[in-house]
Amino acid sequence: MTRTEQTLQDVVIKFAGDSGDGMQLTGQQFTNNTALLGIDLATFPDFPAEIRAPIGTLPGVSGFQLHFSSNKVYTPGDIADVLVAMNAAALKVNLKSIKPGGKIIVNIDGFDAKNLRLANYPEGVNPLEDGSLDNFEVIKIDVTRLTREALKDFTDLGTKERDRAKNMFVLGFIYWMYDRTLDTTIAFLKEKFGKKESILQSNIKVLQAGYNYGDTTETFTTRYKVEKAKLPAGTYRSIMGNQALAYGLIAASQKSGLPLFLGSYPITPASDILHELSKHKAFGVKTFQAEDEIAAISSSIGASYGGALGVTTTSGPGMALKTEAMGLAVMLEIPLVIVDIQRGGPSTGLPTKTEQSDLMQAYYGRNGECPMPIIASATPSDCFDVAYEACRIAVQHMTPVILLSDGYIANGAEPWRFPKSADLKPIEVKFAAAQQNTDSKFQPYLRDEKLVRPWAIPGTAGLEHRIGGLEKQDITGNVSYDPDNHQHMVKTRQEKVDKIADYIPLQQLDSGAETGDLLVIGWGSTYGAIKSAVLELQQQGYSVSHAHLRYVRPFPKNLGNIIKNFKQVLVPEINNGQLIKILRDQFLVDAKGYNKIMGIPITKTELITEIKRILQQK
């Protein structure tokens, strides 16, 4: 039989199945394999909040989308070229996100009467048989039967244990389809199941069976190859957002010489930062799983007060609980990094779905006049730089800093040209020095040219002083109810945060001319979608530029001037319009919003449509 090999530039594949089908692991394995070939990629895991929703049901569907390409990749892809559907529910949930003519690989065992009923198909209707999938290329594989067949000699394994290897069959088949080798996954399995020989061997066996199935079954005549991407030269690895963020914190600790202290309470989707940091005790990292969100931030404040790099990590509802303590940190004027991995809100909202939900909360959500710098990460690897920068601002400006990321970046992966430790700019920190002459009283709120007060840590002779949440007299730090002092201190705390603008880079345009018809301003995880949409429109001749904000408070000093050079401004956000309110407030600009509040990212396609609509409107 003749086999052809076709080279593709760009593939979006989605693995979907029941929460128990191991689709996240399958996706991650294929991602690693892809990354090691130097192919560019971006991923989007999409899973239910319940650990195990009822098997076979629509809410139980777990998905993992991977976009890989020999070109630069900015998003996990709007729509899939290939869908792997392990059961009827997985097909139903994802049917609208497959390209017409795309491939659907189904496990036919997941389409029996019971699964069809659980997926709410009407009695007697089977999408594999009623012609409703005629616009797609459907590849039916009886994964369950073939898996059991492959494992018939593994008599020590029960049916349940054998069936658990189903995902390896699919993965093996996909490896064949994209002309890959199995070594990365075999190495992974060895590490994972090293001590459980028969589980290890059974998984390898099924993986190979899936691969061989592609190789020997004559129905499949084409294999696909995606070439290495033309990325800047260097050494790369694959990285997920929360992991990069944790590394950024460790790097900041190492390069500042401050021991890292994380006070945290588990919350989706931020817990992985706590997990990651707790592994790295070799760096002297102290992780404290507190009794609640309030204790988490309070313990970090205590650690910072003692001279550590205090960090707390959370998500929207936890941010709300930390509010009062953030106010204390503002009043104390001590360093602290508050990481908010945003998710759909309000209240418990959509714990596993993404949303740029908390900019308003971060900006305004405290009692009194309580300004705090805000910094936002745009992509998984960007979390590293942003975490490093948040620590720098916190310790050099003696202020709590809010870092906003979200579920989409947190769990997404991309290739990362990681930095060398020596290339990271050291973070200079100075503690106030001991005073032997006790006649001159230490002044805890005496400020330098940045309006920053000294970091005077307990244990330093001669610096004994009291701080607290009550209004302080400037310079002395004594409690003060003086009206003029309060006005002065409110203005000073604001000015201190505003002055940070002198110590951050100017805003650059991500792409496009400096003047034009439309400026698209984004922040956070919309980066990839905006970037790819704007690049495509520029190629089509549209006068559109893109600015993406890392520094949300204070804004870079030149942002106002950039905005003035455009006829119109569009602000796409995964919320009901938050950055746009701040931009309108500060720059009196008649910006337009594009707001998607569905718990999923904005796609390139819808943004292109929206930008064209705006540009044709005038």
Partner: protein, 344 residues
């Protein structure tokens, strides 16, 4: 203590600040402040190594009057802030000053978790059984049926027994003292400071504005000896104006007995602060002192002391062990990870 712990001759004066003390005249807090200022110089710890963390309430003004490092934080969270501080800086002598509202109500959660983790800190709870700073509402330790601003028809809350709560949270040092007994308070604070682990000290403190005289029965000459029981290690539980009463254990039941014909000191319960089970019973001697008829006196002193590893030490040990087995963290190795690829 820390490397800077050179013997220094400090006095109470060294621990006073230039700030005007602003508690109401006659407040029990003045006495507690004086006793802390007397105890701290005797501990052999350099002044700069003390950090006093407080929450919100009258008692929480305390740090302003102490010439040490201090933080007047937010309501109920002093315990959590102190936990982070001690975790980051085990070398410091960390003191928490809190009240019944701050530690038992808004900060109740952090109180129990501090105790179970057993950070080596001293936790002083000024209990006046009232909300003073907010001008007179009942607190979680107020007696039942209390008439206050927020309970004009009497409170219907059942009060906490702070020591029983601390015992329940596996506290390793549990004591009670009072503002009106300076010597007892100094001794108790000294014991607390020397204990390695969280030292929970409930201090009965008179609020002469909103709850005046609530502990009078334990402090006035006419009643104090009959209503108070002073615990001493290895000594029988004897009380009464004429030392004529004692507590004996009848199985698991404590009983008040008259000394004389039927019972002698040899029949009595001998106090052993290391006895976990006896301490459980002792903290439960919490009768209303105004009850007529036979009832238990209120014990004062150290109820219980035991030794358990402290959180901050275990935390440091774990780091040490990892560094010993894996070596110090290498940032470049971390960033590189296990699998990389080159793009030329």
């Amino acid at each position: 203590m820390s490397a800077t712990a050179a013997p220094v001759n400090l006095t109470a004066k060294d621990f006073a600040t230039d700030q005007e003390v602003r508690w109401c005249p006659g407040c029990g807090d003045y006495s507690i402040l004086a006793q802390v200022q007397k105890v701290m110089p005797t501990l052999g710890i350099p002044k700069e190594n003390f950090a006093i963390i407080s929450g919100i309430g009258c008692s929480s003004r305390f740090p302003y009057y102490m010439n040490t490092f201090g933080m007047h934080s937010i309501h109920g969270r002093a315990t959590a802030i102190a936990s982070g501080l001690k975790a980051a800086r085990p070398d410091l002598s960390v003191w928490i000053v809190s009240g019944d509202g701050d530690s038992m109500s808004i900060g109740g959660n952090h109180t129990i978790h501090l105790l179970r983790r057993n950070f080596d800190v001293n936790f002083l709870v000024f209990n006046n059984q009232i909300y003073g700073l907010t001008k007179g509402q009942y607190s979680p330790t107020s007696e039942e049926h209390k008439i206050t601003k927020s309970t004009p028809y009497g409170s219907i809350d059942h009060p906490f027994n702070p020591l029983a709560l601390a015992m329940g949270a596996d506290g390793t040092f549990i004591a009670r003292s009072m503002d009106r007994d300076p010597k007892h308070l100094q001794e108790t604070l000294t014991r607390a400071a020397k204990h390695k682990g969280t030292s929970f000290v409930e201090i009965y403190q008179n609020c002469n504005i909103f709850n005046d005289g609530t502990f009078e029965i334990f402090t006035e000459k006419a009643t104090k000896l009959d209503e108070g029981l002073y615990l001493e290690q290895d000594k029988p539980l004897i009380f009464g104006a004429n030392k004529n009463k004692g507590i004996r254990l009848n199985g698991l039941q404590p009983e008040v007995v008259e000394l004389g014909n039927d019972f002698s000191a040899d029949d009595l319960w001998i106090h052993d602060e290391h006895d976990f089970y006896k301490a459980q019973i002792l903290v439960r001697m919490f009768d209303d002192p105004h009850k007529t008829g036979t009832h238990f006196p209120r014990p004062f002193g150290v109820f219980y002391e035991t030794s358990r590893p402290c959180y901050e030490d275990e935390m440091a040990l774990q780091i040490e062990e990892v560094i010993t087995s894996k070596g110090k963290g290498d940032l470049d190795k971390l960033l590189r990870g296990r699998e990389v690829w080159e793009i030329a």
